[in-house]
Amino acid sequence: MTAYILRRLLLVIPTLWAIVTINFFIIQVAPGGPVDQFIAKLQGIDSGVMEQVSGEGKAEITKTDIKEKSTYRGAQGLDPEVIAEIEKRFGFDKPIHVRYFKMLKDFLLFDFGNSLFRGGSVIGLIVERIPVSVSLGLWSSIIIYLVSIPLGIKKALKHSSRFDIWTSTVIIVCNAIPVFLFAILLIILFAGGTYFNWFPLRGLVSVNFHELSLIGKVLDYFHHMALPTLALVIGGFATLTFLTKNSFLDEISKQYVTTARAKGLTENRILYGHVFRNAMILVIASFPSAFIGLFFTGSMLIEVIFSLDGMGLLGFQATLQRDFPLMFSTLYIFTLMGLILSIISDITYTIVDPRIDFEKNS
């Protein structure tokens, strides 16, 4: 086992290298790059897809910009020299292999550089977004786990009962709710000017957060988190609940459960003490990674709608903007993390179920 883990850890290196390399070449040879994006920005058409997501700029008319006078030439196009200049700035004047090796070197040294389009370093950008991501991830996961697992178990026990049917229906319908519509609905109903103005519309905390007492801070924070979390979890119960239910159904009629019952255990202790571990290997083993994954949860639409700066939007925009350093670095960091997590998750398997090993099948 120790040897296995060691081998797995060593394998991280070539894997990471392959990932970075393949991605680098795919992304670099694809037509269109930061230069185009930069030009688009100069010409004032940098919204694009975000517009579909955020609904921004869906005007049928070009904005009559009050401030900008008509002399701005950039809006009409750019001279070739200017474009050459821009290309140089983005490093596209160098041949591809030079750029590739530079990136490899930087990554080896964990030097991720700066974003092309945003202020700040890549690491800085990610760190900045952690509070939002953790908040969204943590609360939504807690709620989902706390609801889905007991619910799933209860449904397994009452399989085919009326309770089972109506809970199924509810969670499935919730699952089908498009997140962004629901989020907007929440805002209109509970945070807008038309119905109830109960919750704040935007942000993670209030403007005057630093002036609040500790309790005030906590309340303020949850006040802000309530709607986004609700929107995020609403569709999230279904899979875990059903997985729990079905796994339990599979286990619950096994002989060892009868043994446990014969010992005089209460149903709950049987379920949580005995069946749980057997039934939920998948869930348990995925938990460490799910837990660490919490720190990087992103849900682009929720972030957009509640005006939060989280990972989801960051990644999406990086892709759209062809912000290569941001794209590669997030890829690198997350992959590295993902690789380690998969090792942890594999180890967890063997801890949860001692019969599991990774040896070659004899």
Binding site: M1, Q255, R261, A262, G264, L265, T266, S362
Partner: protein
């Protein structure tokens, strides 16, 4: 009967699977008094287990009770609230299940499972519980009880698991012990030890025992009264003396008379060697910590060698946990082993997987834990027929079906039940399904690991006869692992006695039985034929 501890009146149990109803128990009435041992014997599949399980309402959801009442302490166990029955379970009434192999939670360490029941019904500290668990494992005759406490069930042998079950059932010193074939996987010496233990407890606590077994010897020894079951009904109840000496029901007579007797058929010395095992070793690593460092090995099979000629039966006997099953597995290349194994001219340890697969039709195994070896999601017909269709690709579905029916009949199973799933069968029936699955391939070599432990005498007789006749007809070779020395004696040409992973004695059957050399062997034989 008024002061009976437990009374079962007119109990009927059916299983409702969709439109199909299986009647398992019909109008059974029993009672059990304090300090008394009631033995239940009977045909395999006659409803013994179902009756016993009904007492604590442990049957699956498909069970329905058309009639009957089970009174314990003046209350009807079938109708009292869940909380009340829970109070009784494991505390007032304990059960030893028929299937020790699958009855333990595979993911919990033995210690945890044993101690759990203590914490549940007693107010006890952890240290005390540890001590108690340890002492009980010792009492049921487990070796190295301390290591066993931190083992997982799959790391124990069949007999060891069974003893863990027994310890769990006894540890709370219940009023009633329901023991469903508690000693099937135990060698005779341990068996005797366990029975003594139970009897001591009974004396000490006035415990009542419901003892289900096929082993009439045991019944004779410990039962105060005996009930004989057949086809879901109690056909006769009486004190052992009368049952054994002047049985009234024809079935009882039949049962008592079908003792395994006779000798193995004589064989020719010129037969060629089929199996040649030399220096076979199977070590299981003992791992510690999260990283699972290997700190030591369990030397389950430690350098054994023997040869077996074609057309003969080799019996492997020995203490529980001595490595018999492991050795059987190793011979068929079902686990990792070192050493040389020759099947005819093929060296199994050197062949690649595909070659071995081709050889598999020629060698078969019947698992000690028949239930575990049956795929729960395949019907019995599929289970039995599968090997057939694989090894005879051309076979028509009709032929296959016919063959399945024939073999089922041969092992005493109702062919009508072939579309059911394994969970709908009794312990003995599982065993017969497993036997049928192996036999249908007509393999030239078979490892039979306790193939008849859950079978009643009559069926056992039938199966053994079948094995013998097949052997004679097709010149088959068997390795027969068993604790039942009578059966071994009647079937085996040669015998190996194992202890702690090594062969302590081997030789022709008669010689071993008449002149055992080792003290251990002598003790075994003495206990068995006592």
């Amino acid at each position: 009967m008024k002061d009976a501890l437990l009374t079962i009146e007119n109990l009927s149990v059916s299983f409702q699977m969709g439109k199909r109803t299986t009647r398992a128990v019909e109008n059974v009435s029993l009672f059990l008094q304090k300090g008394e041992t009631l033995g239940i014997v009977g045909e395999s599949g006659s409803g013994k287990t179902v009756t016993a399980m009904s007492i604590l309402r442990l049957l699956p959801g498909s069970a329905v009770y058309p009639s009957g009442a089970i009174c314990f302490n003046g209350k009807n166990c079938l109708t009292i609230p869940d909380d009340d029955i829970r109070e009784i379970r494991g505390n007032r009434i304990s059960v030893i299940f028929q299937q020790p192999m699958t009855s333990l939670n595979p993911l919990h360490r033995i210690g945890k499972q044993v101690k759990e029941i203590l914490f549940l019904h007693q107010d006890i500290s952890h240290a005390e519980a540890d001590k108690k668990a340890l002492s009980w494992l010792e009492r049921v005759g487990l070796k190295n009880p301390a290591t066993k406490l931190s083992s997982f069930p799959h790391q124990l042998s069949g007999g060891e698991r069974q003893r863990v079950m027994i310890a769990m059932a006894l540890i709370n010193e219940p009023d009633i012990l329901i023991a469903d074939e508690p000693t099937t996987a135990l060698d005779v010496t341990v068996q005797a030890q366990i029975l003594d233990l139970i009897r001591d407890l009974q004396k000490e606590l006035g415990m009542a025992i419901l003892f289900i077994t096929h082993d009439l010897g045991i019944i004779k020894r410990i039962a105060d009264r005996v009930a004989v079951m057949k086809d879901g009904q109690i056909v006769e109840t009486n004190v052992p003396d009368i049952i054994f000496n002047s049985p009234s029901h024809p079935y009882t007579k039949h049962l008592i008379n079908s003792e395994p007797k006779g000798k193995p058929d004589p064989v020719d010395d010129r037969d060629e060697t089929l199996i040649d095992v030399s220096h076979l070793k199977v070590f299981f690593p003992i791992q510690k910590g999260i990283l699972r460092r290997t700190v030591d090995y369990v030397r389950a099979v430690n350098d054994i060698s023997f040869t077996l000629k074609k057309g003969r039966t080799l019996g492997i006997v020995g203490e529980s946990g001595s490595g018999k099953t492991t050795a059987g597995f190793a011979i068929l290349k079902l686990n990792r082993s070192t050493g040389k194994i020759l099947l005819g001219k093929n060296s199994l340890n050197d062949l690649d997987k595909n070659k071995i697969r081709e050889l598999r039709k020629r060698m078969q195994i019947i698992f000690q834990d028949p239930f575990g070896s049956l795929n729960p999601r395949m019907s019995v017909a599929e289970i039995i027929g599968e090997g057939l269709s694989i090894h005879n690709p051309g076979i028509t579905p009709k032929d296959e079906e016919e063959k399945i029916i024939v073999v089922m009949e041969k092992v005493g199973l109702d062919p009508e039940t072939r579309d059911r799933y394994p969970n709908e069968f009794s312990g003995g029936q599982h065993q017969r399904i497993a036997i049928a699955r192996a036999l249908i391939l007509k393999p030239e070599f078979m490892v039979l690991d306790e193939p008849t432990s859950s079978l009643d005498r009559s069926v056992q007789f039938q199966v053994l006869e079948l094995l013998k006749s097949l052997q004679k007809e097709f010149h088959l070779t068997y390795i027969f692992i068993s604790h039942d020395l009578k059966v071994v004696k009647s079937l085996c040409h040669d015998i190996i006695v194992m202890k702690d992973g090594v062969i302590v004695e081997s030789g022709p059957s008669e010689k071993i039985f008449s002149h055992p050399e080792q003290e251990y062997t002598r003790q075994l034989i003495a206990t068995a034929f006592h």
